[in-house]
């Protein structure tokens, strides 16, 4: 077993815990509790829908902010502070270091998301006094959010390999927003009847991570079932996309002269 990425990942997770990154959970818990109390009073009959909508959106937003803002500094900070000098002088390949940093942040995001999901279920319990079997769809929606965060993190870490945190944030945010509207970009090209534009927009569509497929928050809130095929498709898509970007990041990072 190649355990180097595992050691680096554990240390990255430890860094998040020690740097009190998970403190945002307290804020999240307060928001959820407050919302649950408020919603319970003002939205008769649709409390469930509002709480799920609000909760999943908050989980997604909190995760996104963490993924981008921690992700863009993940490698850059190591280079700036020269903490990776002593690590790379050990029998550690650069790709192993990079994979470790990536999975370490992913672990942080997963723990963060799991705890926030527990908070969401507590809020549901407070409002409805019970948890229905159909609420399991919330877990699928959370899984999709986690896949989105994994995609955003890999983009952030990719830019972090060669760019400053400020630029990396802009690039990652830009790609995220474009990725949310990936289908629209393709459709817009198709409307023009211009072959070149159609080709460009189609290429952009395939290159960008398609985040719209991962957004099932509204459907989940309405209680619509989420097809299992979509779970499979999204998992495979995210895995392939992440692997490709991680490979590209490794190639960039492995050839980079450290200052």
């Amino acid at each position: 077993m190649n355990s180097v990425p595992y050691f680096v990942a554990l240390n990255t997770f430890r860094e998040s815990v020690r740097d009190r990154v998970l403190y945002n959970l307290i804020f999240f818990a307060l928001v959820m509790m407050g919302a649950a109390v408020l919603v319970g009073q003002i939205s008769l009959g649709i409390e469930n829908e509002v709480i799920i909508n609000l909760g999943l959106t908050a989980i997604s937003l909190f995760g996104l902010v963490m993924a981008i803002f921690i992700g863009v500094g993940l490698v850059y900070k190591e280079i700036e502070r020269r903490t990776l000098y002593s690590i790379l002088a050990k029998p550690v390949h650069r790709w192993q270091f990079l994979a470790g940093k990536y999975f370490g942040l992913l672990l942080t995001l997963a723990v963060n998301t799991a705890l926030m999901t527990a908070g969401l279920f507590l809020a549901l319990l407070y409002v409805k006094h019970s948890i229905a079997a159909s609420d399991v769809h919330v877990l699928i929606a959370v899984y999709f959010i986690l896949l989105q965060l994994a995609l955003v993190t890999v983009l952030a870490i990719f830019f972090s390999c060669f760019s400053t945190p400020m630029l990396s944030t802009l690039f990652t945010l830009g790609i995220y927003v474009a990725g949310v509207f990936a289908s629209d970009i393709r459709d817009m090209g198709a409307l023009t009847n211009n072959t070149a534009l159609i080709l460009i927009t189609r290429a952009t569509y395939y290159l960008l991570p398609n985040f719209s497929n991962f957004n099932v928050i509204a459907a989940t809130a309405h209680g619509d079932p989420i097809p299992l095929t979509l779970v499979g498709q999204n998992t495979a898509y995210a895995a392939i996309y992440i692997a490709a970007v991680l490979l590209a990041a490794s190639a960039v990072f492995s050839n980079r002269n450290l200052k």
Binding site: F7, R82, L88, A89, K90, P91, N257, L258
Partner: protein, 319 residues
Amino acid sequence: MGTPAIEIEGLTKDYALGFWRKKKRRALDGLSFQVQDGEVFGFLGPNGAGKTTTIKLLMGLIFPTAGAARIRGRSIDDVEMHRDIGFLPEQPYFYDYLTAREVLDYSARFFGFSAAERRERVDRFLEKVGLTAAANVQLRKFSKGMMQRVGIAQAILHDPKVVFLDEPTSGLDPVGRREVREIILELKKQGRTVFFSTHILPDAELLCDRVGVVVGGKLHGVGTPQEMMSIEVQGMELHFELPAGSALPAALASGATRSGAIYRLDVPEAQLYEAIEQLHAAKARILSVTQLKPTLEDYFFRLVGGEKGPSYAVEVSSK
């Protein structure tokens, strides 16, 4: 002679400058030398000479524009070669959210030690660098000197065959410097190769089997500190007293200075015996005869074109 510990052949490093990265700055220019197994090798040079660049190239942190290097016969591109080496970066910085014990444990993990082995090694090396009492303190509370000690411990705790230390004594107080010197000497006693860069020349003089001087990215000589220093003997210095009523021989008057009752005379080595005979004739009491020998610092300053440093006198006889 077996495989050298370090072989460097024509190592060159250019840095691209400017927005379009079309301008080049040569940081290292065709560096070639070898360090033998078990040697303590001092890599000397002023700031910006290329010392750290060389070490970073050897560690695989940056890549050469031209040339090659091998450590214990293996290319520097071979990551597995790093099992045999230890590295202390210049002004080391480690994860400040970790304690000293955690940093060392983290470092030890990459070498495949079991949990029990790691514990034993971490304790042993914390003691060696004098950090046992601060073992469980987060590094953010450490001074520069303490950080340097952590750096040294993580560089040697896996018993590497070749140890690279970039300015190991900089930032340390006299006690810390002495402890680092002792660690280097202990590594030498264990048969390990130590390659260290420094601009603290007395350290190099004291510790090194051989030194290399790099200036402006070019190597300006490799040899033992003694070879470097004995390139030219600067002359002889005599201290003497004259009895009351005796006059200083006229031939020696131009090279002599007087401080109270004691005269000091500088003469070329070839004229020493002639000067002594004249002083005998004048009934002078010779207090000491010493050889004026250039220090490594003198040699260094000559190379870098700076001001000449003070020489020290090596006593060869006294009465």
